[in-house]
């Protein structure tokens, strides 16, 4: 059967070179970077070079990069670690209603610890009213967390406007950006975004699962969530997952964000045009969204039904985000979409390897599904 993988926001295929790197760091250069002998030193050099590569891509200094077990841990560490470190300065947290669950569940935990959390809602599928952030942030706010690109619709959030607001409001807040869906897909610079914390993940950019990183601006202090050793400056102790970290860096090194972006833009437009020729389809991603993600609804057909139909044709997409496996999407709900639109939403996400053939196969299977799977007789 043909294989058309269009669920790259869930995860991507690991690049050949990255897989090779992981194998090398497991079988050959398998030392512990903390070991004092020369074999350990070799591993330490690998770790340093990985950190350099990631730092370079984010426009950060090497000592500002902390490796974690992935995006979820990076988000948890950022949100909880920042709030706990700042709790004497205030007790309010501002975030958006469409964050990834690793941020939302993190701040929910903080709510239980006595913090007050304000969730900013988007006005519609096209985005936010910046005034709403302006209203939410006050001099009691210790943390603002806002993603760069939403994982379900590709919507871009006005993260660049937030540092200005924090300054104007004279808030003691740290600013965290969840850049998991943006990293490697567009050029990102922690300096131009003026953030204090930024989370990224490896397996969305053809690296292995189980590794990610948190950028912590020099001079910013956040509290650790785990304790045990001096690794990662004691912010994230534990023996470094060298095979994963090395492979992550290798995958990152292969990124050519701008070149890929051109191609994905083209593919996205082609897909939108083809979708436009079908009936009963609503597109939930605005034109300005990240072209890597396109969310649409095939009205009258439940997401799961369509998804299984597509998968029986060798086309793999997602309903909502893969992390919520079947649960109703909080993102689409917060975006104010109708129940029947949410119920039938499908997320397609591209990678640099996606082709016209993938899109054509999807459209063909989709058309077939639209004809046979309707809930009501025609």
């Amino acid at each position: 059967m043909s294989f058309h993988y269009l669920d790259n926001s869930a995860t991507t295929r690991v690049s050949d070179a990255a897989a090779k790197k992981a194998l090398e760091l497991m079988m050959v250069n398998f030392g512990n970077p903390s070991s004092l002998h020369s074999f350990g030193f070799q591993a330490e050099k690998e770790l340093d070079s990985a950190r350099e590569i990631i730092a370079e891509l984010m426009g950060a200094k090497t000592e500002e990069i902390y490796f974690t077990s992935g995006g979820t841990e990076a988000n948890n560490l950022a949100v909880i670690g920042a709030a706990q470190a700042k709790k004497r300065r205030g007790n309010k947290i501002v975030t958006t209603a469409i964050e990834h669950s690793s941020v939302l569940d993190g701040v929910k935990h903080l709510e239980d610890c006595g913090f007050e959390v304000e969730y900013v809602y988007p006005k519609d599928i096209n985005g936010f009213d910046i005034e709403d952030f302006e209203r939410a942030v006050d001099e009691n706010t210790v943390l603002v967390s806002c993603m760069l690109v939403n994982n379900e619709t590709g919507l871009k959030l006005p993260s660049d406007k937030i540092p200005g607001i924090i300054k104007r409001k004279n808030a003691p807040a740290l600013f965290h950006i969840d850049a998991v869906q943006a990293f490697g897909k567009e050029n990102i610079s922690v300096n131009s975004l003026k953030c204090d914390l930024m989370s990224i993940s490896s397996h969305k950019i053809h690296g292995p699962k189980g590794v990610g990183a948190l950028y912590v601006k020099k001079g910013v202090r956040i509290l650790p969530r785990a304790f045990g050793g001096k690794q990662e400056s004691a912010l994230r102790p534990g023996t470094e997952a060298m095979p994963l970290i090395g492979a992550f860096a290798q995958a990152a090194e292969e990124i050519n964000a701008l070149k890929s972006l051109e191609w994905i833009k083209e593919l996205n437009l082609y897909f939108r045009q083809k979708l436009g020729e079908l009936s009963n389809i609503i597109i939930n991603s605005p034109l300005e969204a990240s072209p890597y993600i396109l969310n649409f609804s095939a009205l009258g057909i439940r997401s799961e039904t369509m998804l299984h139909h597509l998968s029986s044709k060798g086309v793999y997409v997602s309903s909502g985000s893969a992390c919520s496996k079947g649960g109703k999407s909080h993102v689409l709900t917060a975006l104010g979409l109708d129940e029947n639109v949410i119920d039938s939403a499908i997320r397609v996400s591209f990678s640099k390897h996606s082709t016209y053939e993938d899109v054509d196969a999807l459209i063909e299977a989709l058309e077939q599904g639209l004809n046979t799977l309707q809930r009501k007789k025609k």
């Binding site: 439940r302 799961e304 039904t305 998804l307 299984h308 139909h309 998968s311 029986s312 496996k325 079947g326 649960g327 799977l373 809930r375 009501k376 007789k377």
Partner: protein, 389 residues
Amino acid sequence: MKEVVLIKLGEIALKGLNRRTFEDVLKKNIKKALYGLGYFKLSIAQSTICVTPESPDTDMDKVEDAISRVFGIVSYCRAAVCEKTMEDICEKAPDYLCEALNEAKTFKVEAKRSDKKFPLKSPEISRELGGLLLSKFPHLKVDVHNPQVKVTVEVRDFAAYIHADSKKGAGGIPVGTGGNGCILISGGIDSPVAAYMMAKRGLKLTAVHFASPPYTSERALEKVKKLLKLVSRYSGSITMVTVPFTKLQEKIRDDCPEELFTIIMRRLMMQISRQIAAEYDCTALITGESLGQVASQTIHAIACTDEAAEMPVFRPLIGMDKEEIIAISRKIDTFETSIEPYEDCCTIFTPKHPRTRPVLKFVKYAEEEADFSELLEEAVKNCEVTEIR
């Protein structure tokens, strides 16, 4: 020290002339439950089954765990085996009971002497062992009315046994002694609980599941298998019959009035299940319906579904609240699996306003109009059979 499990039988002991049959089935069920844990000798006397492991390396925690789920057992306990002399009993008891007695403040000793040739009488045994334990565990006090630990000495035909408190067994009657029942299982919270409850009353289970790919997924099917596996820890192995239901559901969608979708689907399920039941020697169907829970479970709807079954339909949950059902599903560990959010055949094509008071005459008329006979036959013919154990 040699350790055994002593099992007390429940209701079985009350069965008159059938008692032997019940006991034999129970012994067989216990042996099956212990499969993979080693070799065991099972002997029965005075409504107690003694499970003796043949190897001293047997993991008795696992044995105990397996026995705790066998129906027909009212209580069970682990016990040390002694020679039938007071010396041996007094030598082994302090060691064996050490853990239980160290955690308690009060205790008492109770002796049961079924072998009347044993030189000491029951109160004398109690007194002697009690005195010894008091001297070995000076922190203890005797409390004959409300002891925290009750030490029991049982002097039986071939050996004496010492044990602390016994644990409550799974109750019910042995699976298989009540005949065979066919459970309609969807993947929700209710049907595994219904299956468990009827197995507890002695039914051996066959399960029918309706799958509608691509509307339902492989994961949904896997979920049902997982649920049956959990139930089978109580009921023993289950034959699972998966019915391809897609075409029938699509035909309902295309050819029947929308408000009757659910009731017609339920009736078709009954018709198919009844044929499968007959094929697998089952004489009753089992469902997880609870009165008034959803539109298809009103008294009128149930009357309509029943008519299509043509054999007894057991609904053990009929008078239970959701909370009560959930409590049982947590107890038997199916809850966490049941709530995994996959579409099942009952949730696709649900009408906006299902009829809550369907009239059989009109339902039958709609069925005849659509004519499902050919597809029904095809569905029954193309079932897939999996053995869950």
